[in-house]
């Protein structure tokens, strides 16, 4: 089955540019999560693919077919919304059957497809239930079953977990993962929740202000952000950013910051004077005893965070950073000042335009 391609796609609402000249493709058999803060354009993009919103300019292709001018019902797309769309007063079975009837699918094939959808979503026991008796998760599962039963080419999910409580999210995510492995369609999933995206996606397309910031497999996006925005948006808390200077000294490029005990050699060309060092909280080494490449820092605050880890706010030269420590010693927890080291392999550098710069860092001294 082919992929979806969008080509120079733009959508304006009066003077607001919701989607700004995007060119991108969504591969078949994969879950692509459109991730970003509210107003980034992810929902508008999804709605244009569905045909619910007409692009201002640009095209949308499904394989070789130009979908841009086709009305929604001719696109063969299944869609799952924030609010589960189920018809009350009729059974789960009938709910799934409706779109098949509309498409004039013969009775025996209908039965087969409904049973297949019920099985995929583990809804067999609920087939005869009136859909108004269902809880939110089951209702959302019914809308998914409906969306897949008529074998659409593309399945779109628009923040489907918005109205599902925290406990049932685990259940929905579980079944989504199982389901997506079995489906071969193009799956596009919109969310603002980074954990949801990291958990469910094969690839994440991170968006900001109508543009695509970066598209990668989840761990690659987390570990190797191409822009400051990606480092900040993913992670809880996000990456620390520290201003640093890049200068020429004794014929070498050196990088200095109060978080390094001595300047670092930096192998790159054409780097700005001012750069930004990015490092994730969990990658900072913190110790109550001196580490080899560490500097002394003041502990400003400490608190317990996810999974009983400790979040330390530490300060060097009036710059604060957050460090996550998973198994702190008692000595470390009572220390007012600590040693911090930024392991070089975890440092990500950004230029003045907030874009990633690839450069090897080394300690100059022996």
């Amino acid at each position: 089955m082919p992929e979806i391609k969008i080509d120079n796609l733009t959508k304006r609402f009066k003077e607001v540019v919701a989607v700004d000249d995007l060119t991108f493709s969504f591969p078949e058999g994969q879950v692509t999560c459109l991730l970003g803060p509210s107003g980034c354009g992810k929902t508008t993009l999804l709605r244009m693919i569905a045909g619910l919103e007409a692009p201002t300019s640009g095209s949308i292709y499904f394989g070789d077919i130009d979908l841009t001018q086709l009305p929604p019902r001719k696109r063969n797309i299944g869609m799952v919304f924030q609010y589960p769309v189920v018809y009350r007063g009729i059974s789960v079975y009938k709910n799934i059957e409706l779109p098949l009837l509309k498409r004039n699918i013969p009775a025996n094939e209908r039965r087969q497809r409904i049973e297949e959808a019920l099985e995929l979503l583990n809804l067999q026991d609920q087939a005869d239930k009136d859909s108004s008796q269902l809880d939110n998760v089951s209702r959302q599962k019914v809308s998914v079953a409906r969306a897949i039963s008529y074998h659409p080419d593309i399945i779109l999910f628009d923040e489907p977990m918005t109205n599902i409580d925290a406990n049932s999210r685990v259940q929905f995510s579980h079944f989504f993962k199982e389901l997506s492995k079995k489906l071969n369609q193009v799956i596009v999933y919109v969310t603002h929740d980074q954990t949801e995206a990291m958990t469910l996606a094969d690839q994440i397309a991170l968006m900001e202000d109508g543009r695509m910031v970066q598209c990668n497999e989840p761990r690659a996006l987390y570990n190797e952000p191409e822009e400051v925005f990606g480092g900040w948006f993913l992670g809880n808390p996000g990456m620390n950013f520290i201003a640093a200077r890049c200068e020429q000294a004794a014929g070498k490029n050196v990088l200095s910051s109060s978080f390094f005990p001595s300047p670092l050699g930096i192998a790159t060309h054409g780097l700005d004077r001012e750069v930004t060092i990015g490092i994730r909280p969990e990658h900072i080494s913190v110790s109550e005893t001196a580490l080899s490449n560490a500097v002394n820092a003041k502990v400003k605050r400490k608190s317990i965070t996810v999974g009983g880890q400790f979040l330390l706010v530490i300060e060097v030269d009036q710059v604060e950073v957050k460090a996550k420590v998973s198994h702190p010693s008692n000595e470390l927890m009572s220390a007012k000042s600590v040693w911090v080291e930024f392991p070089l392999e975890h440092i990500v550098l950004f230029n003045q335009h907030q874009k990633r710069v690839h450069a090897d860092l080394t300690y100059l001294r022996k």
Partner: protein, 372 residues
């Protein structure tokens, strides 16, 4: 330090529905007291009782040393950031922030510097001439907080002010609120249903569960050494794993047994004589479950129901026999576990806390018994 707010055996019910029962709570000046409870646990009611917007059915509330029973709300002099912070749509941000001061008939001359100070604390000075419709969600929230702190007083209440905001905005506002309290040096009483927000902001936490305060204390001490099941159960993300079990005495040694585990127990000092056997709830935090690669003593085989990747850490939901378990693995760099995989896990007996099932009070801890 002086106690500025005190609840003494306060109860409140709506019709026949009890909302708060026998609430005892003391808040000191300069404290950052978080009232932490699940949604609809009565946090808002508790704050409204203090504001004078609701009246207790029993008990007393002491405000700055004075019983408030006959004190009308407007003389209680408390700053308030409500959960539903609707701004007045046709008034400028300046006027929205100034509103509590207009209510107590302050002059514009007096109001101006105070509003400006509040605005600068929340970095919204440049918004003062705008209308609410021109602001983003996060900016509106800052305006609501500025409006809450504009009244210069020694006690401020916050009713879950970050609920419904997106994740990244909350991260930033949590930092701001902490700093704000440092600057104002007043007593903050802050209600929230987010465990990490509670643990990050609080100087002290009161856990409100099952209509009453289960436990009060510093975040670190009640998280690491909970005295009540409610604290263990709800204070933490992800929530703790709970199991039903029995505590029995066997030749003067105490022994705990659940469907999955069996281990010796060290009873807390100073407890009265207990029933034998005693019905207990055994609890273990998700971070205490470890993945073992080799076949270890006391390991369990678990099926992965879901693996959530939080970036810095992963939450793994497991099925072991008929039980569901949640574990946190602080390093998710590997990312090679997935739905349907099997892993071996172990839990040190010393990670178990044991609570009496009927009362929720802690009775003891598990002890590692390597010689067994």
């Amino acid at each position: 330090m002086d106690t500025v707010v005190e609840f003494k055996a306060v109860s409140k019910q709506y019709g026949k529905l009890p909302v708060l029962e026998d609430i005892d709570l003391a808040v000191k000046q300069d404290d950052f007291m978080v009232i932490y409870g699940l949604p609809s646990s009565g946090k808002t009611v508790l704050l409204r009782l203090l504001m004078g917007l609701e009246f207790p059915d029993a008990g007393d509330i002491i405000l700055r040393g004075e019983n408030v029973r006959h004190m009308p709300p407007k003389v209680r002099n408390i700053g308030y950031v409500p959960q539903d912070f609707a701004l007045i749509p046709h008034k400028t941000i300046f006027e929205n922030i100034a509103y509590p001061l207009r209510l107590i008939k302050k002059s514009t001359l007096e109001i101006k510097p105070v509003v400006q100070r509040a605005a600068s604390m929340l970095s919204i000075e440049e918004l003062l001439d705008k209308l609410p419709t021109q602001l983003s969600g996060g900016q509106k929230q800052r305006v609501a907080v500025a409006r809450g702190i504009v009244k210069e007083t020694d006690i401020y209440l916050f009713d879950d002010p970050l609920a419904g905001l997106d994740f990244k905005l909350r991260e930033r506002l949590i930092d701001d609120l902490r700093q704000l309290q440092d600057e104002i040096a007043a007593c903050f009483i802050y209600a929230t249903s987010d465990p990490i927000e509670s643990l990050t902001l609080a100087a002290s936490i009161a856990v409100l569960h099952d209509r009453t305060i289960a436990e009060t204390g510093e975040p670190r001490s009640i998280y690491l050494d909970p005295r009540h099941l409610s604290t263990m159960d709800i204070l933490g993300f992800p929530r703790a794993n709970l199991f039903d079990g029995h505590l029995t005495k066997n030749q003067s040694k105490l022994h705990c047994k659940t469907d999955l585990f069996e281990f010796p127990v060290l009873i807390d000092a100073g407890l009265p004589t207990m029933k034998d056997p005693l019905a207990v709830t055994v609890a273990v935090r998700p971070e205490k479950i470890q993945i073992v690669s080799d076949i270890d003593v006391n390991f369990l085989t678990a099926d992965i129901y879901l693996r959530e990747d939080l970036g810095a850490e992963e939450i793994i939901y497991l099925n072991v026999q008929d039980c569901s378990l949640t574990m946190v693995n602080p390093s998710s760099q590997n990312g090679h576990y997935d739905v349907g995989d099997q892993i071996n896990i172990r839990i040190d007996a010393a990670s178990f806390f044991i609570f009496e099932k009927d009362t929720g009070n802690r009775v003891g801890k598990g002890i590692n018994n390597f010689n067994a």
